[in-house]
Amino acid sequence: MRKELTCITCPMGCRLVAESDSSGELAVSGNRCPRGAAYAREELLAPKRTVTATCRAAGAAVDGSGTRRVPCRTVAPFPKERVPELLEAIYGLEVSLPVARGQVLLQDALGLGIDLVATRTLS
């Protein structure tokens, strides 16, 4: 297998080439630092993304005033292939106010051991 990708660890944007030999060992070239090789390995074997979104604030006023959305994030990068499922869970939430920054909104999301927390204190 041979795969080309762009490293997003820093602004250099190295063009990486990852090749696996017959034993399944992955060789990375094109990286200007070790972080590039680590990035390529994770990106190809188990890609993850930090998910940021907003969820509904309970009792939002119909006239559009006051707090309507609560911003949130996963506390750690989340397995990429499960992100659509996670988003569905986030959009199904209704968070009652007040809410504090760091407050857990969804514990152990999808049973993957990663919490979803609020990113702003809102009343």
């Binding site: 200007r32 959305r69 988003l87 990113t119 702003r120």
Partner: protein, 418 residues
């Protein structure tokens, strides 16, 4: 009408205004911050994505988290914050400046101060600014407005989206719109390279298989009541090739075509504006052409990281405090943008102290060299692994770098990229 007096008034309560106010207060000054929104934090509040704070906090935060950490710092100090308060005018009355503002709660107020820090941020370029032809249907938004609708107000602006311009806000919105179930059909960029960060191209476009059309001009927006699509055409060898134009059906168009410092107030107060940055000309104290009026953050020049905004604004706050204490620059060198440099800010530096310069490249290049010359004589060269217009370059010139050099009173420092 209520009249209040402070040592310094900061106009704008975003990252820049908060950072400047904290420094002024730390220097023992009585400070007020005037903010138009009901809450401090500025644009960070709607930037719910992560990527903020790597320099300032050594961790990757979302916009709201970054803003709230500064809000916490501010509320721990005796700094007056006027919220929901719009500044109408900045007037200079001899040594004093008067900031006239109005809020629902307090009515009209006049805030009198010796120093004013401009920290109003910037605005998005819109359709009129870049003259896209076509009809005038509903469904055309700037990317930042769409971001506010989605993240703060909770509305979905449309279902099938085309994004014009590849600025970072547009790229972030491509991902955000995809994550709320919209289809993003294209990002169209007039230049041969994207104007946003490479990591955003990868994580916001490639993850969702969104096509990026480089060297393409939008030649039409069509639809009567609602957008029905856009037409784009390639630019080949500098010429638009209309024979190759094609349509992209969509019901929503987002524009991410650049930001312009918001200097209406500054202009009316007589502050001179640098046409290269659309921000005020500033000296080594980040002071504008009006003595006692300072500028920092995106109102001065558009930054790509809030971390840089904070760093620059702290300097502005410190300089304003020093200026209030009676310190003046002893001697200044003019700073000039040389070959391949769009601009350098500030426009003057003081050789006897630590200076920080911010500049933007006009070219995309790997293994570039930053050349600093004083009156034509090379004094410093810095290797840069990669330069591109969308990534701001900073360079520190300490006292030791300049003081030993026999500079003339009208010496010029020139920075170029080779």
């Amino acid at each position: 009408m209520k009249e209040l007096s402070y040592d310094a008034v900061v106009i704008g309560g975003g990252a820049a205004g908060m950072a400047a106010a904290l420094e002024l207060e730390a220097a023992g000054r009585r400070v007020a911050v005037v903010e138009r929104e009901e809450r401090l934090g500025g644009i960070l509040g709607q930037c719910v994505h992560n990527g903020f704070g790597l320099i300032e906090f050594d961790e990757e935060l979302t916009g709201p988290e970054f803003a709230e950490r500064f809000e916490d710092r501010l509320s721990a100090r005796p700094i007056e914050a006027f919220l929901g308060c719009t500044v109408l005018e900045l007037e200079v009355e001899g040594e004093a400046k008067v900031v006239s503002c109005v809020s629902r709660e307090r009515g009209v107020m006049r805030l009198r101060a010796q120093a004013v820090v401009l920290a109003m941020g910037c605005r998005e370029r819109n359709r009129g600014n870049i003259r896209i032809p076509g009809s005038r249907p509903a469904g055309v938004y700037t990317a930042g407005l769409a971001q506010r609708l989605v993240n703060v107000e909770g509305y979905v602006p449309g279902k099938d989206v085309a994004i014009i311009g590849s600025g970072d806000i547009g790229l972030i919105m491509a991902r955000r719109m995809s994550w709320i179930g919209c289809n993003v059909h294209a990002v169209v960029e007039i230049m041969p390279y994207p104007s946003g960060l490479t990591r955003n191209i990868v994580q916001c476009l490639r993850d969702f298989d969104i096509p990026l059309y480089l060297s393409h001009l939008t030649t039409d927006i069509y639809g009567r009541d609602r957008v029905e699509g856009i037409e784009i055409a390639p630019i080949e060898n500098g010429a638009l090739v209309m024979e190759k134009a094609f349509k992209i059906p969509c019901d929503t168009v987002l524009l991410s075509v650049g930001l312009v410092p918001e200097n209406e107030l500054s202009r009316k107060a007589g502050v001179s504006i640098n046409p290269m940055t659309n921000g005020p000309w500033v000296d080594s104290f980040l002071m504008t052409s009006v003595p006692g009026v300072f500028a920092c953050g995106n109102v001065l020049h558009v930054h790509d990281l809030v971390d840089y905004v904070v760093e620059e604004s702290r300097r502005a706050g410190r300089f304003a405090a020093e200026w209030l204490a009676g310190r003046r620059p002893s001697r200044e060198l003019r700073v000039k943008a040389g070959a391949n440099v769009r601009y350098v800010a500030p426009g003057r530096i003081e050789p006897g102290r630590d200076n920080k310069l911010y500049l933007r490249s006009m070219i995309v290049k790997n293994d570039a060299v930053l050349e600093v010359k004083l009156d034509g004589k090379p004094i410093r060269s810095v290797k840069k692994g990669h330069v591109q217009p969308s990534e701001m370059i900073t360079i520190a010139l300490g006292a030791a770098d300049l003081v030993a050099l026999a500079a003339q009173p009208d010496s010029t420092l020139e920075i170029s990229i080779q």
